[in-house]
């Protein structure tokens, strides 16, 4: 067994970027703050030192033109990695993303490609508020022509970003801020992870769970509590939102008869709505209980931690939802008590001291 190599997700992103840039001179990094001392939460560390400001480009605060510039250069053969420190800033570039980025391949009768990566960071906690913590996953997943991915684990961050850079299509990466410090085994070599088909990451019998991002980690942490009750589940890491490939989920539901989809974004018109619709259309007769989707309530994110407390999902709420799908309300209180946390609601872990 090779020794494990533990990196944080932000280190994995950094390593992937350096590898891709070394491998291919046409790859460049561009964004507001890519060269500043905060280094996009460490993800652009050392890039300027290695590749100079020719390939690591600090920019004016003009997201829309920056995106168009990336698109034009990508149509000419370059491979931009554009970074937004918050998804919310990318909204200023929606015209370019939706019209030119997503449609160039289609409207050129497949002659133009836009091999471009757009990293958008999702904020959470520490009072980020309504315009620093939007997820907008289903917004981007609504646009034909874009690929949309949302890695969770450090090794996936590396492999999926490398795949996104190599891909000939525009790839939006929704990157949860609370995942940057998550640690995990990351192989040292150059490797590519699939960005076209989601994977099952846990096998079980009693229900099917689909989750991504920070929620996925919470589900994994519930595994032991549920195992003690002899409950097992199929778990899908929904780290690819577009192309949305749901056959494996449907096959799993045919087996378990129960489905819970946990959206990182809004429950209302979220990805979960689409997945459950597809299940309803294809295998409703196999369902033993009502399908359930959970996600954010349909209001903007409040800043105050006292309000945010009931805004985000947490382990306890996910557990209750699992038990609801299993029709096991009786053991609810009993199990809920087992979930204890000394971490405040507005930080990912105790090491996080703000401000961003």
């Amino acid at each position: 067994m090779p020794k494990k190599r533990i990196l944080t997700a932000s280190q994995a992103i950094n390593e992937a970027t350096i590898m891709a840039m070394k491998k291919d001179n046409s790859v460049y990094v561009i964004g507001e703050g890519v060269n500043d001392p905060k280094e996009i939460f460490g993800t652009t560390k050392n890039l300027k030192k290695i590749f100079t400001s020719k390939r690591v480009i600090e920019t004016p605060i003009s997201e829309n033109a920056m995106t168009g510039l990336c698109i034009g250069s990508a149509m000419m053969g370059l491979k931009p990695i554009q970074i937004h420190q918050r998804v919310d800033f990318a909204i200023l570039a929606l015209e370019q993303i939706i019209n030119n980025c997503a449609k160039a391949f289609f409207v050129s009768n497949s002659k133009h490609t836009v091999p471009m990566v757009i990293r958008m960071i999702i904020g959470r906690g520490w009072g980020q508020g309504p315009m620093h913590s939007q997820i907008l996953d289903s917004l981007f997943a609504q646009i034909p022509g874009l690929k949309v991915i949302m890695p969770t684990f450090p090794k996936d961050f590396k492999g999926m970003i490398l795949s996104a850079i190599k891909d000939r299509n525009p790839v939006v990466i929704l990157e949860h801020r609370w995942l940057h410090n998550i640690k995990g085994d990351v192989p040292k070599k150059y490797y590519l992870n699939n960005i076209n088909k989601i994977k099952k990451i846990n096998n079980g019998h009693d229900l099917t769970i689909v989750a991504n991002g920070y929620n996925l980690l919470e589900v994994i942490e519930l595994k032991k509590i549920l195992k003690d009750e002899k409950i097992s589940f199929d778990l899908f890491d929904l780290n690819i939102l577009q192309p949305l490939e749901t056959n494996a989920i449907i096959n799993s539901v045919k087996k378990t008869g129960r489905i819970l989809v946990i959206d990182s974004g809004f429950k209302n018109l979220g990805i979960g709505s689409e997945i459950i619709s597809r299940i309803s259309e294809t295998c409703m007769e196999k369902l033993k209980s009502k399908p359930l989707r959970i996600g954010l309530p349909f209001v903007p994110t409040p800043s105050s931690r006292f309000l945010a407390k009931s805004y985000y999902l947490n382990k306890k709420r996910i557990l209750i939802s699992i038990l609801q799908v299993l029709n096991k309300k009786k053991i609810k209180n009993n199990l809920s008590k087992k979930i204890k946390s000394n971490i405040p609601i507005d930080v990912p872990d105790l090491s996080f001291k703000g401000p961003f």
């Binding site: 460049y28 020719k54 920019t59 004016p60 003009s62 829309n64 033109a65 920056m66 995106t67 168009g68 510039l69 990336c70 698109i71 034009g72 250069s73 990508a74 149509m75 000419m76 053969g77 370059l78 015209e95 370019q96 019209n99 030119n100 160039a104 391949f105 289609f106 409207v107 050129s108 009768n109 497949s110 002659k111 133009h112 490609t113 034909p144 022509g145 690929k147 000939r168 299509n169 192309p243």
Partner: protein, 321 residues
């Protein structure tokens, strides 16, 4: 100075565009070209004059009124006409229609109907030239209304701050659809804005193809040499309606005197005068060229009209490369 030979070439380029545009205008009522069209009649000199000084690797981007730019840069006319008819042999296989003309081989990167949307894409092409140390330039064709969009300012800023080989060509035809520039912009903003970004700015008569070719030659050479963006503003006029094949003077949104002035200053007439007075071509040969072009391109339209759609069915269209 432009040689006799090149003067003739400019004339043939302009005549070709005018002829094709007039045929579209005549045939549109056949209801076979079923997409919105924005004819360039009256504005062709700018496209022809500028593109005269570009090579196939230089890139242009255009907007909804893209026919003249496409043809002047050498875009394949059959692919354009087929696109109007919705045919699979169209430049975008029937997917784009008239407002998305492009030709990879000829350096026509993209035309985009959302006002100003192609500007940063053109800046990106300029960026790629600088990145790859190529001596090419990107030309961005815009109208007067484009300067009202935020992305225009963002793009000027990028082009300047990154020192990119980009030429902005602003065709001021005074109207955004039916709305006069005076209702949309403070007086003379359009003349000042690029200067305020520290860009060399030039003012030219948009209906004099020879002069445009002459003056832009030097400008384009300078951009190639220095990797610095420049801006040309040209006054011109759209003869027909904003979108569609007809005149719309009866709607009275434009001043009658103004219309008369610009029709008298038609770029084709102007060019023909130059050709005759410099004894490059005779009046009778001009007449013959007009007739032979009309015949030649009418046949192409006829062919394209008969063409069958043999492209990919919607269900088989690939979403990803």
């Amino acid at each position: 100075m432009i040689s006799k030979k090149n003067t003739k070439k400019i004339y043939f380029d302009l005549l070709k565009i005018r002829t094709i545009e007039e045929i579209i205008s005549e045939r549109y009522k056949e209801q076979e070209m079923r997409c919105p069209i924005h004819l360039s009649i009256g504005q062709e000199a700018i496209a022809v004059g500028i593109c005269h000084n570009l090579n196939n690797y230089d890139q242009i981007v255009s907007n909804h009124r893209c026919h003249a730019h496409y043809l002047a840069k050498g875009g394949d006319e059959k692919k354009m006409i087929n696109e109007f008819y919705g045919n699979s042999d169209g430049c975008s296989g029937g997917r784009g229609g008239s407002m998305h003309l492009f030709d990879q081989k000829k350096g026509i990167l993209s035309s985009v109907p959302i006002v100003s949307s192609s500007i940063p894409v053109g800046v990106g092409a300029g960026f790629s030239f600088k990145y790859n140390k190529k001596k090419n330039i990107a030309v961005i064709f815009i109208g007067d209304a484009a300067i009202e969009e935020g992305v225009f300012y963002e793009s000027l800023n990028y082009a300047k701050i990154f020192s990119l080989p980009v030429l902005f060509v602003c065709e001021n035809n005074l109207f955004s659809c039916f709305t006069n520039i005076n209702e949309r912009q403070p007086k003379n903003l359009i003349k000042k804005i690029s200067k305020s970004f520290g860009m060399k700015t030039h003012f030219l008569n948009g209906n004099n193809a020879i002069q445009i070719a002459n003056k832009s030659k030097k400008i384009i050479e300078e951009i190639r040499l220095k990797n610095e963006p420049q801006f040309i503003l040209l006054d011109t006029y759209r003869v027909l309606e904003h979108c569609g094949p007809y005149e719309d003077d009866h709607l009275n949104y434009r001043n009658k005197k103004e219309i008369k002035y610009w029709k008298e200053n038609c770029p084709l007439k102007k060019l023909e005068k130059i050709l005759v007075s410099n004894k490059i071509l005779s009046k009778s040969s001009l007449r013959n060229y007009r007739l032979s072009y009309k015949k030649k391109y009418n046949l192409i339209f006829e062919d394209c009209k008969k063409s069958k759609f043999l492209g990919t069915k919607l269900n088989n269209i690939k979403l990803y490369a």
